[in-house]
Subunit: 338 residues, 4 copies
């Protein structure tokens, strides 16, 4: 931590701050500049948010951490890329892994049709929502456990592993029973009870970024799962909230190289939520792969105009197949397999 003192503090006041730093278990190292005195607090400051409380002293101007606050997620702890295994598929390796399917599981016919079509087009994982987080209490809330069973049936039919969202700690066990990957949605990225619970199961966890979660906070959420004992965390960029309204969210592809620098965890991108409009999904899917993403999460629906949710951003199966062909070309151009 770097503690900057206000201008005009006395030697006694400097000594008081030094004493407090020592009392918290750090070693103070004071630099007297021309205009300010600055104290470095030497010691591992990760997770030691308590030092920040010094900012409430009238003699202190600001307290700034030096280290990134996460540990297990960090490249410094593990320099090689982590590969999370989902069935036969490794996420984070050479292959670009595409997870596709409907926003909501709506019926047996729907989910089987989509599963067959996305598999034929080259998707490696089937996505589909059974428990749905909906902004309005009056909107369709998902088929719940019935939806999980339909997804499991689609897996039996197609062999595709499945990913689906879990929204509360109490449902983790039942979802983990049916799903191959547990998805934590954007609205739950700081639902710490849920993160702890999925940290205690062995299944891979796909952790979506919240719509206003900084990359640092997101990695701290991943740290909840990792420190709970579950190393199988996949990060998913899905768009952040900005002032721009011509898209539903602003897909932050900068996050891909930033994450690749900071963490060993695999990174996938969801261009469906990240744009909110089917017309933009293909372009942003290609961009994500070019930026270095390890995979994609894409919404596909046989009849988007009748979808119970997220119709505007869903692709028809034919368009999805065309996207897969184009994505594969970009993947090869960046030395990845598709």
């Amino acid at each position: 931590m770097i503690i900057v003192l206000k201008s005009g503090v006395s030697e006694r006041e400097v000594a008081d701050v030094e004493r407090r730093i020592t009392a918290m278990g750090y070693r103070p190292h004071t630099i007297r500049g021309e205009l300010r005195t600055v104290i470095g607090a030497i010691g591992d400051d990760r997770g030691k948010e308590r030092l920040r409380s010094l900012e409430s002293l009238e003699t202190v101007e600001s307290v700034t951490p030096i280290l990134q606050p996460f540990k297990l997620a960090s490249r410094e702890v593990r320099s090689a890329n982590s590969v999370v295994q989902v069935g036969n598929v490794g996420i984070g390796g050479r292959k670009i892994v595409v997870m596709a399917g409907p926003c909501s599981v709506e019926s047996r016919e729907q989910v089987l049709e989509v599963a067959t079509r996305v598999k034929a087009a080259g998707a490696a994982v089937l996505r589909g929502g059974a428990f749905k987080p909906r902004t309005s209490p009056y909107a369709f809330q998902g088929l719940e456990e019935e939806g999980l069973k339909l997804l499991a049936e689609a897996r039996r039919e197609t062999g595709l592993p499945i990913i689906t969202e879990v929204m509360e700690p109490d449902k983790v066990d039942v979802v983990a029973e049916h799903a191959d990957v547990l998805q934590i949605g954007a609205r739950n990225v700081q639902n710490f009870s849920l993160l702890r619970k999925v940290g205690a199961v062995g299944k891979p966890v796909l952790l979506k970024r919240g719509m206003s979660t900084s990359i640092q906070e997101w990695l701290l959420s991943a740290e909840y799962v990792l420190s709970g004992g579950n190393p199988n965390v996949i990060l998913c960029e899905r768009g952040i909230r900005t002032f721009e309204t011509s898209t539903r969210f602003t897909l932050d592809l900068n996050a891909v190289p930033v994450l690749k620098k900071l963490t060993h965890l695999p990174v996938v991108v969801d261009p469906s939520h990240g744009t909110g409009h089917w017309e933009y999904v293909e372009s942003m899917a290609m961009a994500a792969v070019a930026a270095g993403a390890d995979g994609l999460l894409i919404e596909v629906h046989p009849r988007p105009e009748e979808a119970m949710s997220d119709g505007p951003q869903s692709l028809k199966p034919d368009r999805f197949a065309a996207l897969m062909t184009r994505v594969a070309r970009v993947a090869r151009a960046v030395d990845r397999d598709a």
Copy 2:
């Protein structure tokens, strides 16, 4: 809903969209403009997000709702202000209700000292965190049930009703047993399982705005609680996330008059989180009351520089007492009691 068609659509395509609107249970009313054809879908579109899926048709340019999507929270359903009763205190009436106390309950001495001091200064409710949502898994996570008991003891000592946060559905019952108001934190504003659960208990619920939640989404979250059968919802503005870094969040006081127009629910403001620095809390507390807020939520700690959490934004008891005096003057200037 207003459905704008793309330019150049044929009469047959217009008829197709009209047919789909009818099939969804609405009455289409088509306006042929100079450059665009627009169809109004007549019917109650609140919560009927499904109409939006028409946006995925290639003939449709955009779909725009006309009505605010919430019902029970709306001024149209109830024009008079709701007053939520907490012990003897009514929130939403003439009196400005101040809820104050430490971010985290840290010890018996700490919470009793703060409770006594804030009561003496005029606070009407004691706040304190027992279950703490912390960004880092390595940070202090609260005293949990022990903290609830200390809060209950502080209530016995001072007579102040208490407000404390609940973070997961499973804990709602135990928190409701001890607390007078259940606080839903910013990170859980779209934790719909939790919202449903607190909608099923009778206790008042203080619902904080999420850091990137629009006012419309926030009222839909309130609607989850209201439609669950619990009418006692208090809204709390606590700052949104913007590009500005000189404060921790940007306190959106515009939200106060906007909410007063849209909803009958009481509105309180948290200037401690909304600024993140104790030096700015008093100014923004006064501003909130002048803007029309019904109450305040303020962090007070006897020794902020040693606080386990949120020290930089906590007031010492003396400063809090000074704030109460100044807030009271502003309250009277806007015809409120303090």
Copy 3:
């Protein structure tokens, strides 16, 4: 500046960075922590952005400035509040100064009617746009010099000093000839050529915050004017751009106490642009004064529904008079004159 080195740098690499710091005229002071080596660059780093280029070294993780980069605008250079004199009116003193008038000067009748009405209600300065920055080239662009003359006539009739916007360096002289205060609009807050030009005239300058300008950048824009030799700068918060769409902008009242801490310059608030809706203007005007603002800038139009620009946020004269009465009560509650 604090330069944080990457983990694992060698002694030779540390020495290389120290050498570069010395070569740039600073004194390096190195702290070896447990996990990182940190070098303080001792010397006045204000405006010395060049040090930041060290961040491009492969051995450097980050470069963080210690001091705020502005000088003349800073409280450290001048601790007492500056009062900017406009005619007989001092802005930044005990009196809350209200500047009111139409968005655009549209006709002689309109501007004279508004001037008379706002003066009667207690406004101290007349605002009105002659040169209008309009988002669309097809929108009304203002009456230009004819508008300036109408404003000057309104001053003669009412005795109110006038404030009007100047949009380009070439027009500064003609606007300064007619106006008492030169307004720099939000879109020109980083139009450095214009800032330099108004720094070279003696007239007071009201500098609006840009819609995405940080407080630090805003004060650096003020520094352009101050360092040009013109000490008469008034800062005007007018709302920033965020994700929230229920208001036109998000009025950042946090900026008021932040500025009062950082700078001696007077601070006024524009609740008309800051909300974009006339219904919210009165609440936010009162909040601004309670937060510590020195004045207000408010749009008033006799027939807002026929206004050439900004009708939705303009008050009718009667409503403005009511606002003035309510604002005066809040002003007295915070020990200001109105």
Copy 4:
């Protein structure tokens, strides 16, 4: 325009709004829904912001435009892509055009060295700043006209056309004398005087998006240039301002497909400013091309650690050459030439 009336308006009030719409030259078409009456104002509403003033009526809830407000920039006016010719280079055609060079022209040696190196690596245009918009008045402000001459010399040496920024109307002629493309910087995107002035010269104009400019506002700024008679406008996405601080800005690549849908103008991307860190530039350059950009703007400096400005985001010539090779592979994967 769609005008939504408040609930409970009387027939007389509806008639009053209809009358006003007619008086403004539009044809009202009224739809009576179950809960609201809605009036469509038929007629070309582009640039007719004045209709919005109806929102200030107490009977009106909201006014929403139907059409995008720009005309000449629109795909509806011109469906084929525009190709802007710069010397022998066409921007907006099959070829990905890379413009590279230093942030600031610092010396003859520097600019000639960079010019030679970027040409060898395949850049088609040389960029370099002579007039520099700097946040601080104390920072290096550019070599001004001397810088223009050095750029012209580099053109003679290498044959590369040059792009450089112009900051004020008075300098447009001198910059146009030396430059092949006039760059309008992010901070001047709504400097309407400057836009009008460059609209009156024939030279190509590269118009950067402002850091908080919506895509719609940006196209209206382009419309200023186009409606001035200059059809040679190139749009440049360079990152928007969001809450995320791990990058300098958030590069909004969503803007590429959105622009490709809305406008015929060429679109280039600046990953140097869009990330602010050299380590992320290559990834985002590739992503931009995959998303459909027509070109790139990249900062290259022989010794970034000694740069007078923007060192942290500048590439060394070797890294730039490596980037060009990788970008070319992505370009071919999306059927573009490099």
